[in-house]
């Protein structure tokens, strides 16, 4: 179900912040202070806040569902073990996502991306069918398939932008690269996505 969108003064639709998106809420900082004292209850609450976000981020980045649990656990283990090293110079979510990104790239080194199958085409038809569950499933398949054609670095930037609603500076901090590199990755990723999905969403062009 689509959410109602806010419209700003310039008539630009602005996607409301996803409730799962990082917010740097003060509550998280308070929890982290308790985690520094090895408070397991506080860590559980922090885990519950971050697990859905990280699972979503990692499943897009890794394209290996069976690795998500491992990398997510390793990420939260680093949070647990090194909470004391978080100095608060960035948002807590930026710190956690940066850990996850590094862990994911290491895991990917062990499990490289699959060889591209150019014949794979999940854009089944152009039938202008109703917005049925079947149609949604077809679109989801096409999106996931299109994401699979991107590099892991591009997938990370795309997901952090479109779903997690982060600005390019926060993303640059997470993936540890210059902001211009984030923009360039996003530019090429969008072009590829658009190319791949043009057969799925004929109303785009």
């Amino acid at each position: 179900m689509r959410e109602a969108r806010e419209v700003n003064s310039a008539g630009t639709a602005v996607r409301p912040k996803n409730e799962n998106a990082p917010s740097g809420a003060p509550n998280e900082r308070a929890l982290l202070e308790r985690v520094k004292m090895h408070d397991v209850d506080a860590f559980e609450r922090l885990y519950r806040i971050y697990q859905p976000r990280l699972a979503r981020f990692l499943i897009n980045l890794l394209m290996r569902p069976q690795l998500v649990e491992e990398v997510l656990d390793d990420t939260m283990m680093v949070v647990w073990q090194t909470a004391g090293s978080f100095r608060g110079t960035s948002k807590l979510s930026t710190w956690v996502f940066a850990i996850a990104y590094r862990k994911a790239l290491k895991a990917r080194a062990r499990w490289p991306d699959p060889v591209e199958d150019e014949d794979r085409d999940m854009r089944v038809s152009n039938d202008p069918g109703p917005d049925s569950e079947l149609e949604r499933g077809r679109i989801h398949d096409a999106l996931i398939s299109a994401m699979a054609k991107l590099s892991a670095e591009q997938r990370a930037v795309v997901d952090l932008t479109y779903f997690h609603g982060l600005n390019y500076r926060e993303i640059a901090d997470i993936v540890s690269c210059p902001v211009d590199t984030v923009k360039t990755r996003m530019f090429h990723a969008r072009r590829r996505l658009k190319q791949t999905l043009s057969g799925t969403f004929t109303d785009w062009l």
């Binding site: 996607r15 885990y47 699972a55 989801h140 996931i144 996003m186």
Partner: protein, 215 residues
């Protein structure tokens, strides 16, 4: 690093690069003004902005069913692989916490039991429980037909459970496990709806899809 807005990059290229973050409302006021000024005179970027908005919507919509979408696509990307069993996050944390608080009398086993439930409850809507994670609940083999794992509140009566199963056309195929979880078989085409009904019921503390044994 040169700023592309101020140096050799053309206003068109600079604006087009920023469109994703314009669509998500994540630009600074000066960048936003730059983009809006350019949009007023560039049809290409207006079309591109429509693409950005569609992607934002589609990515938001992608979330609820990402697990089933992945299950389908995974078969096409690579054959399922077994992951090597490893201590769960909570086992590792509990072990460290137990060491840290070793002067306390709280038995580590109670911490582990609590955390085991916590990780099940925290599994979220995005990752379908795998057979491996199910087996963290029970050493018993996963019945071939099981496609839902469910846990009930401690005060739920047998007749209430029976009524819930009947109302959802669900069959009990396993359990209770040592963690008091039950394995259900529900019609695959209505699994999503059944999960929603179960989660909405006050007696249900956990309802998650599970993958059957992989070929």
């Amino acid at each position: 690093m040169p700023n592309p807005i101020q140096t050799e990059v053309s206003p068109h290229d600079a604006a087009e690069e920023l469109l994703p973050w314009y669509a998500t409302g994540q630009l600074e006021p000066d960048e936003r003004a730059l983009v809006e000024q350019h949009l007023s005179s560039c049809a290409h970027c207006r079309r591109q902005l429509a693409f950005e908005r569609r992607m934002v919507d589609e990515f938001a919509d992608l979330t609820p069913e990402i697990d089933t979408a992945w299950a389908r696509l995974r078969q096409r990307i690579e054959p399922p692989r077994r992951t090597v069993a490893r201590p769960s996050l909570w086992d590792r944390v509990a072990r460290e916490a137990a060491d840290f608080w070793q002067n306390l009398s709280r038995p580590a086993v109670a911490v582990l039991a609590t955390l085991q439930l916590a990780i099940i409850g925290g599994a979220g809507a995005f990752v379908t429980l795998s057979q491996e994670s199910y087996q963290a609940l029970s050493s018993a083999p996963l019945p071939a037909s099981a496609n839902v794992i469910v846990m009930f509140g401690g005060d739920t009566t047998e007749s209430e459970i029976r009524g819930l199963l009947q109302a959802n056309n669900a069959t009990l195929v396993g359990g209770p496990t040592p963690a008091d979880a039950y394995l259900l078989e529900v019609p695959s085409q209505s699994r999503t709806a059944v999960l929603s009904h179960l989660r909405a019921d006050d007696h249900v503390t956990l309802a998650q899809p599970i993958d059957g044994p992989q070929p």
